[in-house]
Symmetry: C2
Subunit: 324 residues, 2 copies
Amino acid sequence: MATISDVAALAGVSTATVSRVLNGKSTVDTELVSRVREAARALDYRPNTVARNLRRRDSSVLSLVISDVENPFFTAVARGVEDTARAAGYSVLLGNSDEDPDKERAYLELAGQAQTAGVVLSPTGPGTALPEGTPPVVAVDRPLPGGRHDAVLVDTRSAARLATQHLLDQGYQRVACLTGPPGVHTAEDRLAGYREALAGRPELVRRSEFKAAGARQASELLFGERDRPDAVLVANSAMAIGLLGTLAQQGLRIGKDIGVVSFDDVPWASLVHPALTVVRQPAHEIGRRAAGLLLDRIGSVRGEAHTVVLAAELVVRGSSTREV
Amino acid sequence: MATISDVAALAGVSTATVSRVLNGKSTVDTELVSRVREAARALDYRPNTVARNLRRRDSSVLSLVISDVENPFFTAVARGVEDTARAAGYSVLLGNSDEDPDKERAYLELAGQAQTAGVVLSPTGPGTALPEGTPPVVAVDRPLPGGRHDAVLVDTRSAARLATQHLLDQGYQRVACLTGPPGVHTAEDRLAGYREALAGRPELVRRSEFKAAGARQASELLFGERDRPDAVLVANSAMAIGLLGTLAQQGLRIGKDIGVVSFDDVPWASLVHPALTVVRQPAHEIGRRAAGLLLDRIGSVRGEAHTVVLAAELVVRGSSTREV
DNA sequence: GCCGCCCCAGAAATCGATTACCATCGGTTG
DNA sequence: CAACCGATGGTAATCGATTTCTGGGGCGGC
């Protein structure tokens, strides 16, 4: 790879001039400008971003650290982040923390040490701490403890309340909630909304990881018991897969014997029969807003932390409507 | 952030000694070792990886450039890459080319300029060229033109042939193939396998992007025509969503009126009714093998290009079996 | 005609690490 | 006893860019 010195030598100027021409920072004689451009083209010169970042002490790369790349919600968020970042001339480097605080920490360290300009982060849990030297952070989906950082969240509690209320309105009597691990903010929030809607009725709560396998196990236990629910609110799409597997195995007719509402409007939600009622979260917009906040923050470090809360939408389909 | 000079000053030694202690490259007096370690701890020192990479002219980061983060196949590949990379002490930076050659090129440039140690790439198409300065590359899913690079592929052609044969064996007469855009290797390969199985029977081929919307349109046209197929081989899971949507709309009973086999064993394949027959590709293993090859290549640049071809498996479920 | 100012471009410092090279010291060998 | 050797640690070069500093030349004002 050609370096800036090679270009300077070929053009017969100093490296300072080459840099000035290529960055357009200062006026340079047009004759020299064309000599430099010519030389750069001839050598197929590309600036070494490592050297540039070292000197400039920043870079035009955003880190995106998400808790599960295999979750369609987060990949949609990732798309949103990428779209606005690219529009602003930034690239996005994606790390998958896999809900593991150690991996998360490793990626955050990398984000700081590699001098990325900022981080969009979906924190694994309440224990998430930012290593020293971490650039500006915007939390998505879940807030960071301390509340000193920008965040883009969804009013998932209201959504859970409305979804539960909807099941009750449809005549389901005994609504269960299958939510995520204790301490995970979204899991607790959805549970809280569920409880609000129950308004004193007896609750029926099970927890598992935000994965299909865990939800499968949890729901098998739930439906193996005497006092079965006749409806379930399930906290994400992967868990819905586990739940629906169990229901099929048990021979329960969804929408009749059992009502189901899931979080996240995945593409296949309309393909199962009956189609799945879901809480649709504006995943793409979450990503776009988060990237927007982050770019603002990078532009000027000052200012209060902003928290944006977006609304979720209940999309009613067959899985929750009693076919009378 | 503390720098190596701060540590050196606090420990009363030179930066060279600090570096030697922290990298264990050379023997250093135990007294100095402990002073340095103490100082590093006291200052919460973390080496600046940008500076380190500049000097060492490499890094322990792998780039992963995939063509669609929202495609479960590629996210599973990504998990595989990440798993082996992390085990070897590497981090993974993920870029989403979104099947767009320009974005792909931008990420490849970044991979080279940021001095990542290597790239795992699913090329967007036959036009993919590697910019000068690109580190070692392993292609996944689709080969790179020229054949001078390592690759991990799937024998998707045989799989397509077997899948088509399976549909014919089940008594379907008029099997269509809904595949990806012209020139995309996997699209062509699957089409070729389909044609092999047809063995001269009249073919019925439609193409669209590897996305649900395109497949939906294409299949609406396909089923709007006079001479409809009675079975379809569809080239990926996103396209299957579009196809299944059309079939439901048309009131066709899957597995009876119409047989369906899709590529990619997504989690929801068993949840639709009837369950979807699929070609299961070993996505996670593809990622692991690709990262393995890449790490080998990074270790020693010499050697022939290796191409690993993995087998895919036909998983027969209800969507392709005539319920007699 | 002289002084000061501005503009431009080169020289050199800088970012923060690694590492080639050299100096010192204690001990061993011929 | 001189020459040598290995271990150790400091000095300074280096990676490849950006940016500050500096100096020379041209031009306007007095």
